[in-house]
Subunit: 164 residues, 2 copies
């Protein structure tokens, strides 16, 4: 019903007006890129390993923290709600990929770690995951990468500062 002659694909940016503020146009492009990459990773994980991005994310955080993380720490780092982590962790525990062990001296907390099987499965996925990201993001030169990281760092700091 409407078309962007210069834009073959339709996405979030289809709603950007020519005279929109710089902040809006940057946001819509950021959102579009993130969605595209995320969808790519979801499709690949599904097809190659019959798993999902949240499950991969949880395991990735654990791999990075060999001594284990509590449910609350996982929630923070994965940037999702506690209830969400609880559900994903239940699945992975049932499949023997992670274990939730009581923390001596703190009966409220669980220490979540990858099992041997979990570490093994994750190693395969991580290798593929890295290759997929390189395929998508290595169009960015080293100097553009540095520039981009710096700008995103500013945005991140500002978002944290304005958090509500």
């Amino acid at each position: 019903m409407q078309s962007h002659p210069t834009e073959p694909f339709l996405d979030h940016e289809s709603r950007a007006e020519q005279d929109d503020h710089q902040a809006i146009r940057l946001w819509l492009r950021l959102l579009t890129c993130t969605n595209l990459v995320e969808q790519h990773l979801r499709n690949r994980l599904r097809k190659s390993f019959d798993t999902t991005l949240p499950r991969f994310d949880l395991m990735a955080q654990l791999e990075r923290s060999p001594t284990g993380l509590t449910m609350g720490e996982l929630s923070q780092r994965m940037m999702v709600s506690g209830g969400n982590v609880s559900g994903i962790a239940s699945q992975l525990e049932k499949e023997g990929l992670i274990s939730r062990d009581p923390v001596p001296g703190n009966r409220r907390a669980f220490c979540v770690t990858l099992t041997r099987a979990g570490r093994k499965q994750f190693a395969d996925m991580a290798r593929a995951h890295e290759a997929w990201l390189v395929e998508l993001l290595d169009v960015v030169s080293a100097s553009d990468y540095e520039q981009m990281m710096a700008i995103l760092k500013q945005i991140k700091a500002q978002s944290r500062a304005k958090e509500i």
Copy 2:
């Protein structure tokens, strides 16, 4: 159980290793920024207008296309599945914010448009939405903005090219 001395906040980047590939580190920072901004907008929309981001997204696409969009076009532009759009549109229609009218000459398609009430409500939200984004993203200078848009454009193109 693990700490980044230089990183007061925990997020996706907590899983980045020092020697990870550039592509991985860029991705994790991109994801973190997008999540932070998205969560900010969600919180604000909830608090100020008692609505959600997907509902706002749908209305924003319609505002941009005054002659209306079909369900399929909405699905593409919002980057979500058709069934999803169907559910959100049902809510908004029930609340009188959008209308779904038959298309003369094509009995399969619906033409979705904002109602007068929808346009009115959207105008208020859009004003606030822009202010929130400016608050978060105007830390980016005009030249950094241009640079960033160019790099993201490359990433977008590459993601489209590799779509599966």
